[in-house]
Symmetry: C2
Subunit: 185 residues, 2 copies
């Protein structure tokens, strides 16, 4: 039966997860799907658009924050959850960064995050900016860990990143942000 766009996107996510952005090429994707490269352009305008759909797919798998939790705690928990999900996918920070810049509120996970920033007491005039700060810390941490992993592979003198230490570093930064927010209630 005919190919669907969902099928194209799902296979793209799979390729990204397994081999990274360097191997997520239109030609490779077509091969994986058993079609000619040109066939993909019936389902997707171009590679950029495909990557936005891939970002949406990655973010849609993140569990929503549990209800009834204090907002600061929920914000921290969701931030860690988003980071945990993305850190497993090579180049996720690049892919999601693109999609976020264009449409910050397009996915539920990032809307939840903005909502919690509101709940924590940030005035409406600064809500988007603070949400962006949290997103930068998440994507920066993910990108940093991934870059260090690549660097260690390329140069055996460099130590590979320690996942626990990276997660800890992320939470230290997040705690600074949360302290900064409390004073603005």
């Amino acid at each position: 039966m005919a190919l669907s766009r969902d099928q194209v996107v799902a296979t793209a996510v799979d390729l990204l997860r397994r081999y990274g952005l360097g191997d997520l090429t239109m030609r490779r994707l077509a091969r994986e799907l058993g079609v000619a490269p040109g066939a993909l352009y019936w389902h997707v305008a171009n590679k950029q658009e495909l990557l936005v759909h891939v970002a949406d797919a990655l973010l849609s798998e993140i569990p929503p924050p549990p209800v009834g939790q204090p907002p600061a705690e929920a914000l921290a928990g969701l931030s860690v959850g988003v980071r945990d999900a993305l850190v497993q996918v090579p180049d996720a920070a690049d892919v999601v960064g693109l999609a976020y810049a264009v449409r910050p509120g397009a996915t539920r996970a990032l809307r939840d995050l903005a909502g919690l920033v509101h709940d924590v007491g940030v005035p409406a005039s600064e809500r988007d900016e603070v949400a962006a700060l949290v997103v930068h810390q998440i994507l920066g941490s993910v990108a940093g860990q991934h870059n260090r992993r690549l660097a260690a592979l390329a140069d055996p003198d460099l130590p590979p990143p320690d996942a626990a230490a990276e997660a800890k570093a992320f939470e230290v930064g997040l705690a600074v942000i949360l302290r900064g927010l409390v004073r603005s209630r």
Copy 2:
């Protein structure tokens, strides 16, 4: 006379500044220098290494913070200065992000930043983490503005980013970080 590595890097910076990472290819760079593509590999191991040198060149142009300023103020000023410098160069966030992940203290500007984080009273155990947070906010802001610019070019329905508003958003986030630091003195 013979090509030098500095010459190769300087031309690469120029290409990045003028046309972005998409046009900073080894072949294009070789053409610009009037040599065969293979010639570049005498001066540089590969493209990755070239990009690290490019990042160093970009960061080395940033003015150091004036002495005698209160540390929190100097930290804010330097952060804004780094952002201002990078936001003018397409894809600077990607290029610098790579170099920073591998060698956070390799350039003076980023060492100054880490030093000011210390001066502001952050305990030694959290210095690197907080410096990374500030760097994430800088690079995230730069990447976000650039991604929005690209998106607006590709899709005329999207508004182009307003430079002043982007700068303001950055400073709001930075202020949150600084408030979070004050409590940890």
